[in-house]
C-alpha cells in the first residue's frame, strides 16, 4: 500500500480507551479510523477450548518482561473481551496517593468526587450492575464465608455482566460465547460504527511521524491472522489528531519508537509503569472444614469442589481499603479464577519442599484442583516499571504463533511494593488457616517475576511534566494533537480492578479532545448520549464539560 490515506482522528487500539474515544468523536461528526492490532472475533467464534489457536490464544497476549509479565487483550474490544468485567470505582484515598514522587501524583483536577460523574457515564454505557448473593458463585461465596469467619466483610462486586445470560463456564478469558459479558462489542464499538467509524483489525501501529500540515502520519504493519509473528504489508494514514490506546504495555513503545522523528518525549513515557500491585495466592479448600466450619453445602452433600464453576471474581474483601492506613498497607483481596496453564504453573505447594512449583508434590497438588480457590491481591506498588528500547516491531518479540511474547519492560519491586504483598499474603494465610479451612501459598515470582492483568501508568497523566507523560487533558506533553486514553494514563495502582477507572478517565478526557480536534479544523461536537441513547449520565456530567474544554 503506497498511497497515504487520510482521516480526521486516528485511534490506536479498540479497548476501553480507544472505543470510548472512537464513539464520542464519530458521534460528534468526525471521520474516525481505529487501528487494532488483534483480530476481530465475533461472539460465535468464542470457544471453550485451551487448544493453541483457539479464541483463548487468539485474543490475549502474555508478554514476559524482566521481572514483570503482562496479560492483556489483543483483539477488537481489547481488554474488555478478556476481562472479568469487575467494575468497582477506585477508593477515595487512591486519588490522594503520593507514590514514588513524594507529593500527590494525580492531577489536582481529579479526585473521587470529580470523577464520579464520569464513572456514572460508564455505568450507563456498559451497563454496570450490582450482584446479589444469588449471583455470587460458589467460589465467591466460600471466600465471603471465610472472610466472615474471621470477622471480615466481603462484597459482591459490581460487574458488567448480564448475570441472567451467564452460564458460569469460567471461560471468560476466551471471550464470552453467550453474550453475557458486556464487552465493548455491545456498547461503545457498535455505536461508533453506527456513526461511521471504521475499525481495521490486524493493523499494528509501529510509529508516528509528523505531516507538513501539523498533523501526524501513522505507520502500521498488517499482522497475519493466524501467525502473529508474521507481518505483511505496511501502510500509513494521516490524521489531524491521534489517540493512543494500545494498552499500557504498548502505547509507550509506540511513542518511544516515534521519538527520533517526533522529538523528545516527556520523561514519563515508558516510565512509572505500575502492575496495580498484583499478587496471587492459591488455596486448596479442605472440603470437610468448608462443610463443618463454614456450614457450606451445594445441596448434594458437596461443600465446594467448584473451582471450575463461575465467572472469574464475584466477591472481594475491602476491609484494607481504609484511607487512614499508611500508603502501601492498603489492598483488596478478591476471589478469582484463572484457567489452567496460566493459573496453575506459578502456584506453589503450601508447605511443600523445594522446588515448590514443579516436581512430584506439584503433580499431587494439581489433583486438588477442583478444590482450589485463588485470591487476587491488588495493592499499592511504587510505579517501578521501566520500558527498555523498543523491539523492532510491535511491543515485543513474539515467541509463539499467538499469545506468548518477550517484551522490554523491567520491574524490580521496591520495599514498599514487597511490603504490600507480604502483608496481603499473611492476611490470606490467616483467613484460610483459621480452623483449617484451606492450605494456601502465594504464586512464585521465581519464573517470570511478578505479573499483572492490569498494566497501568506507563504514560500517565499529571500536573508535572517531570513525573508524567500527559497533561490533565491526556495530551502528551510537548506533542500537541497526540492523546493517550488507555490504562497507561492512570497515574498509579488503584487497589481495585481498573477497567472502570480507565473508562471514566477516557470519558472525562473526551470534551477536551473534541475541542482539540475542533481547533485542528475537524467538524465535530461533543455531547453524545450513552451508546444506547440514554442521557441521564450525560446530564449528570454536563456541568463539568466547560472546565475540561477550557484546558485546551
Amino acid at each position: 500500500m503506497s498511497n497515504t490515506e487520510r482521516t480526521d482522528v486516528l485511534v490506536v487500539g479498540s479497548g476501553f480507551g480507544g472505543a470510548i474515544a472512537a464513539y464520542h468523536l464519530a458521534a460528534g461528526g468526525a471521520d474516525v479510523t481505529v487501528l487494532e492490532r488483534g483480530p476481530w472475533v465475533k461472539s460465535e467464534e468464542f470457544e471453550h477450548d485451551y487448544l493453541l489457536g483457539s479464541s483463548f490464544t487468539r485474543i490475549f497476549d502474555f508478554v514476559v518482561g524482566n521481572g514483570m509479565a503482562i496479560l492483556g487483550g489483543n483483539c477488537v474490544g481489547g481488554g474488555s473481551n478478556v476481562y472479568f468485567a469487575s467494575m468497582p470505582r477506585a477508593p477515595r484515598f487512591i486519588f490522594e496517593r503520593h507514590g514514588s514522587i513524594g507529593r500527590r501524583m494525580w492531577p489536582a483536577g481529579i479526585d473521587r468526587d470529580s470523577l464520579d460523574p464520569w464513572y456514572d457515564r460508564v455505568v450507563e454505557a456498559m451497563p454496570v450492575v450490582t450482584q446479589d448473593w444469588n449471583d455470587v458463585t460458589y467460589a465467591g461465596g466460600l471466600w465471603a464465608a471465610a472472610c466472615n469467619h474471621s470477622g471480615r466483610t466481603a462484597n459482591p462486586l459490581p460487574v458488567a455482566v448480564d448475570v441472567d445470560k451467564c452460564v458460569n463456564c469460567n471461560f471468560m478469558m476466551a471471550g464470552c460465547r453467550f453474550d453475557a459479558k458486556r464487552s465493548l462489542l455491545f456498547n461503545y464499538l457498535p455505536a461508533a460504527l453506527a456513526h461511521g467509524a471504521t475499525i481495521r483489525p490486524l493493523h499494528e501501529v509501529q510509529k508516528l511521524t509528523r505531516t507538513e500540515d501539523g498533523g501526524y502520519r501513522v505507520h502500521y504493519r498488517i499482522v497475519d491472522e493466524v501467525d502473529y509473528r508474521v507481518l505483511h504489508d505496511e501502510g500509513t494514514i494521516d490524521a489531524k489528531i491521534v489517540i493512543l490506546a494500545a494498552g499500557a504495555g504498548a502505547t509507550p513503545v509506540i511513542l518511544q519508537r516515534s521519538e527520533p522523528e517526533l522529538g523528545k518525549m516527556p520523561h514519563g513515557v515508558g516510565r512509572f509503569f505500575s502492575g496495580n500491585g498484583e499478587r496471587l495466592n492459591t488455596a486448596a479448600i479442605n472440603e470437610d472444614a468448608a462443610r463443618e466450619v463454614l456450614g457450606l453445602d451445594r445441596g448434594d452433600g458437596v461443600a465446594y469442589e467448584a473451582h471450575a464453576i463461575g465467572r472469574g471474581p464475584t466477591v472481594a474483601s475491602w476491609d484494607r481499603l481504609d484511607g487512614s492506613l499508611p500508603e502501601y498497607d492498603r489492598y483488596s483481596l478478591e476471589q478469582l479464577y484463572f484457567p489452567p496453564g496460566l493459573g496453575t504453573i506459578l502456584a506453589q505447594v503450601p508447605g511443600g519442599s523445594d522446588p515448590t512449583w514443579f516436581g512430584p508434590e506439584k503433580r499431587a497438588w494439581l489433583e486438588r484442583w477442583k478444590s482450589w480457590l485463588t485470591i487476587f491481591t491488588m495493592s499499592e506498588d511504587d510505579n517501578e516499571g521501566v520500558f527498555g528500547p523498543p523491539p523492532e516491531t510491535g511491543n515485543s518479540v513474539r515467541v509463539s504463533q499467538q499469545m506468548l511474547a518477550r517484551g522490554p519492560l523491567s520491574y524490580e519491586p521496591t520495599a514498599n511494593t514487597l511490603n504490600g504483598w507480604a502483608k496481603s499474603d499473611a492476611e490470606v494465610k490467616e483467613i484460610f488457616e483459621k480452623d483449617g479451612i484451606a492450605d494456601v501459598a502465594p504464586w512464585t515470582n521465581d519464573v517470570v517475576g511478578a505479573y499483572t492483568v492490569h498494566p497501568l501508568a506507563s504514560c500517565r497523566i499529571g500536573d508535572d511534566p517531570e513525573t508524567s507523560a500527559l497533561d490533565d487533558g491526556h495530551q502528551v506533553w510537548g506533542h500537541p494533537g497526540i492523546f493517550v486514553t488507555d490504562g497507561s494514563a492512570v497515574p498509579g495502582a488503584l487497589t481495585v480492578n481498573p477497567a472502570m477507572t480507565i473508562a471514566a478517565l477516557a470519558e472525562r478526557a473526551m470534551p477536551g479532545i473534541v475541542r482539540a480536534a475542533q481547533e485542528r479544523g475537524v467538524d465535530v461536537t461533543y455531547g453524545a448520549p450513552a451508546p444506547d441513547g440514554s442521557t441521564s449520565a450525560r446530564r449528570g456530567s454536563l456541568h463539568l464539560v466547560p472546565g475540561l474544554v477550557g484546558q485546551r
Binding site: H48, W133, L366
Partner: protein, 186 residues
C-alpha cells in the same frame, strides 16, 4: 546410545518434562520417565507432542535445548563425581533428584540463558493441565491424564460448559459498611 539423534532428543525432552510434572513409568525399563509421580505425568499428557507443535515457538529450538541439556548434565555429573551410564542421553541418565536440582539451576532468575528452559517448563506444564495440543473436549473424552487428574468435567453435548447450579444462594458475609448502592465503596 539410542539409534538416532531424534530418539535422543525425545528421550531428553521427556526426561525434562517428567522432572516438571512427574508420572509413573510407562513400561518396565522406562528411563526418561523416572517413576516419581502417581498416574500419568507431563509425558503421558503429551508434552512431546505439544513441544513439537510449531505454534508454540519452541519447536525450532528443541535440538539446541536437548543437546544443551545433555551437555549440562554431563558437566553436572563431572562436577558432582557422578558416573552416568551411556545407554541413554546424559540428562536421562541423571538420577531424578539430580535432574530436579539441575533444572532448578537452569530456571533460576540468576541464569541469563533461562528463557529456553522457561519455555520448556511452561509447555511441559501446559501439556498436563491444559492439553494445549488438543481440543479440550476431545482430550477429556479421550481420558487425558492431566485434565482427568485435575477433575475437569466433560462439557455439554454441544461442546460448551454450563453450570446451572453455581451459587450457595445466601448471604455469607456482611458487606463493607461504606458500600454505596452502586456496589463500590463511598
Amino acid at each position: 546410545m539410542p539409534e538416532s539423534e531424534v530418539d535422543a532428543r525425545t528421550l531428553t525432552l521427556e526426561a525434562f518434562a517428567d522432572t516438571i510434572l512427574p508420572g509413573e513409568k510407562r513400561f518396565p525399563g522406562d528411563r526418561s520417565v523416572a517413576g516419581e509421580g502417581k498416574g500419568g505425568g507431563a509425558v503421558a499428557a503429551g508434552a512431546i507432542e505439544l513441544l513439537e507443535t510449531p505454534a508454540t515457538g519452541v519447536t525450532d529450538a528443541l535440538d539446541f535445548l536437548s543437546q544443551t541439556l545433555d551437555q549440562k548434565a554431563t558437566e553436572w555429573a563431572e562436577e558432582h563425581d557422578l558416573t552416568l551410564d551411556d545407554d541413554v542421553p546424559a540428562f536421562v541418565a541423571l538420577p531424578f533428584a539430580e535432574r530436579t536440582t539441575l533444572v532448578k539451576t537452569l530456571l533460576s532468575r540468576e541464569n541469563p540463558e533461562r528463557d529456553g528452559w522457561v519455555l520448556l517448563t511452561m509447555f511441559s506444564n501446559m501439556a498436563f493441565d491444559s492439553a494445549a495440543h488438543m481440543h479440550t473436549a476431545d482430550a477429556i473424552a479421550a481420558g487425558h491424564p492431566g485434565l482427568l487428574a485435575m477433575g475437569m468435567t466433560a462439557p455439554d453435548a454441544d461442546g460448551y460448559w454450563r453450570f446451572e447450579q453455581h451459587s450457595y444462594r445466601r448471604q455469607l458475609a456482611e458487606p463493607h459498611p461504606d458500600t454505596l448502592p452502586n456496589g463500590s465503596l463511598g
